[in-house]
């Protein structure tokens, strides 16, 4: 538990970092490195690993001071690094030396991270993945194809889930690694999406070698390790701004206010329904923050992820209906410059197209409803046709 003294210590440390490394003047890696050294990157991590061993509730206090002084939002610069890799490495890497070696450059954003889970044949059923990991001396040899990998083209490290035992049932034959994205046999190609941009990549892995020291968790325990990553992903996606009327709904209310000539009573009520749902979800996030006990993210983060995704879609659908014929124009499908990595915002029409991914990425809304039903309400799981079957015998396609 954090004490009053800790509650004072965190702001003191944050102010000291800002005083010694003015984020408006020094390069970002220097500033974030100083945050790491002061234990302010992940306050609930142990000392020496970017943390102070305190309650994660104090993170907001530090972030408020650091970002208030002009510091960057590190989750935006290295999202998979901060959101997923850091907690997974911290919990499962084999040695403290490796943790230190990986976490500091992650924190400074010198090393960008990506996540190599999904495959063309394994989306919602990610535990059915086929990328193979075969032990060869002190190394593992990896072969397979990963997909929907954000930032793979800029990443130095990838969080890799691969099949080490095809004879075991699918959840039991997986092992988790960190993959050097610069290693021979790792090839990254852009994956163009329906907006015309390529935010994501396909990663082809051919006889790439990973030292056994870069295995996270035990052999065959990859699924459990992956849960650390996924629960953190969903909570990162589910967290939203806490200003009333902020977030995606402000795009729609702004559009509404900018075009009085297009306003109708029917569109007004539809927009109000969306505003109310955004507000109800905002208050629900506030409430779950207020009632959060010490500990990691839980399944209730799935409410925010699911509602946020569906709201985004409905809000941009509303925008398109509001614009009518004016809305069916676009700015460019060219794939270069900002469009390569995805100007995440773009005009309303691009946001409308991009929002289709929201109910798929990071867990489909159907999977989210299963999680709410089974883990929050305690309902029985569905019948599984592949239950207990060795992975290699499961029908695939």
């Amino acid at each position: 538990m954090s004490t009053v003294a800790d509650a004072d210590r965190v702001p003191d440390l944050a102010r000291q970092v800002v005083a010694d490394h003015d984020p408006k003047k020094v390069p970002i890696p220097e500033f974030l490195g100083a945050c790491y050294d002061a234990g302010l990157s992940w306050i609930h991590f142990p000392e020496g690993l970017g943390g102070l061993g305190l309650s994660r509730g104090l993170q907001a206090v530090a972030d408020g001071i650091l970002q208030g002084a002009g510091g960057p939002v590190p989750l935006g610069l290295n999202p998979m690094g901060y959101g997923m890799a850091a907690p997974t490495v911290r919990e499962h890497a084999q040695s403290d030396d490796l943790k230190k070696e990986l976490l500091r450059p992650l924190a400074t954003t010198e090393h960008i991270w990506c996540q190599l889970f999904s495959e063309p044949g394994a989306g919602s059923d990610v535990a059915g993945l086929a990328t193979s990991a075969v032990q060869d001396g002190d190394d593992w040899v990896i072969n397979g194809q990963k997909v929907w990998t954000s930032l793979a083209h800029r990443a130095r490290w990838g969080l890799l889930l691969a099949r080490s035992n095809p004879d075991a049932p699918k959840h039991k034959g997986l092992t988790y690694f960190v993959l050097d994205m610069h290693a021979p046999g790792v090839e990254t190609r852009p994956l163009r999406q329906l907006t015309g941009q390529a935010e994501f990549n396909e990663v082809y892995i051919t006889d790439a070698r990973i030292p056994d020291t870069h295995r996270l968790g035990a052999i065959g325990d990859g699924w459990r390790v992956a849960m650390t990553t996924l629960m953190n992903e969903r909570s990162a996606l589910g967290a939203s701004g806490s200003r009333r009327g902020g977030g995606t709904i402000s795009d729609a209310t702004s559009l509404w206010a900018s075009r009085p000539d297009l306003q109708t009573l029917v569109l007004r009520d539809r927009l109000t329904q969306l505003w109310l749902k955004s507000e109800a979800q905002r208050l629900t996030s506030e409430r779950s923050r207020a009632s959060a006990t010490v500990g990691g993210p839980g399944p209730e983060g799935s409410i925010g992820k699911m509602v946020g995704a569906e709201l985004n879609q409905h809000i941009y659908e509303w925008c398109m209906d509001f614009l009518g014929p004016e809305g069916i124009l676009y700015h460019s499908y060219a794939i270069h410059g900002a469009n390569r990595e995805g100007d995440w915002r773009g005009p309303i029409q691009q946001r409308f197209l991009r929002s289709r991914a929201n109910t798929i990425e990071g867990g489909t809304s159907e999977v989210m409803r299963n999680i709410l039903g089974e883990r929050v309400l305690g309902l029985p799981g569905d019948l599984r046709a592949d239950s207990g079957m060795p992975w290699k015998e499961i029908p695939r396609g």
Partner: protein, 396 residues
Amino acid sequence: MAEKLANQPAHSAEFRFTEEQQQLRTAVRKFCADNFDEQAVRRLMESEVPFDAKVWHRLGSELGVLGLSVPEADGGVGGSLVDQAVAVEEFGATLACGPLFGTVFLAIPALVACPAGPARDELLAELVEGTKTAAFAVADKAGAFDPSAVTVTATDDTVTGTVARVVDAGAADEILVAATTSAGIGLYAVDATASGVTRTPLVTMDLTRPQAIVEFADAPARLLAGPQEAERVITHALQVGSALLAVEQVGAAQHLLDLSVDYAKSRLQFGRQIGSFQAIKHKLADMLVDLEHARSTAYHAVWALGDASDDPALAASIAQATASAAFSRIAADTIQVHGGIGFTWEHQAHLYFKRAATDAALLGTAEEHRSRVADMVLDTAVADADAARVATGFPA
């Protein structure tokens, strides 16, 4: 119980319930289990007087939960509106029979807001103690005060006129009524048994929430709030009533979700629990989301009314719009998840479904509150050029 609540800090951080509030919840839940189980509710709702006056008195005296947010100076325990909401949520869960709507949601908050005086002080004490009950005969327009809807006139000490559909009026001891005088509108208390008062009970869809037509013919009346005060008093009562009604909806909806989840786990069809089918599981997941949204907005309104941290009209409308829609949908889906048994008189689902329809219509429908929210937030929205950036067909 009441003493403990009085010793809390006046305002706790939003959404953080105190240990004392958890104890209060447990105590009220136990009382409801003992006194408002389904059998008792069914017996009371079909009685001529649809509540048990002895049990009501115990709620006021023994548990002290009818006027939890009444200041100590006015004979209350000086708790917060959050305390009152916690108790109301539990009443909603069991459909506790009694004049909660007329007395706890509306009359007591109105009296708290009235200027002190012998008529007001005595009545407030009796209502808090549970020795008398009251109905609130002030027609609202979608949960807001509407002077043009006042149908009663007052002379110095009598009122005359008819008020339609007054909830809890049939068995009330006192009726609070808005009446027009030459100087404006005032709020009066009328002894419901006095000569000149005629109450005609109505058959309501929800038998646990009765209504009556109330006719006043030169009925003797005591002034509670004169034209300078009445609008403020009535508006306050309607806002508190809206927030507490939303909390009641949350309590009832939570009960229905629990009931539906239990049923989905125990009912077998096609050789398996129906809750293992995604068609059922996903419906229940959506009910959970609606419930959690309703809970957040209802308690936000309760906190906001208690500590003035938000515009009370906006917070109350957000809560009413959200909770009315949520409870209605959850009640309908509860019947669906239960299948045939859920459509029978014998099953409890219909009791809640009828309460959902009733609560959704009282103090403004979800649509009316949405409309009010639109007035408050859309008409004041500001255009931001980047947020509203639209592609025009010219290459970027």
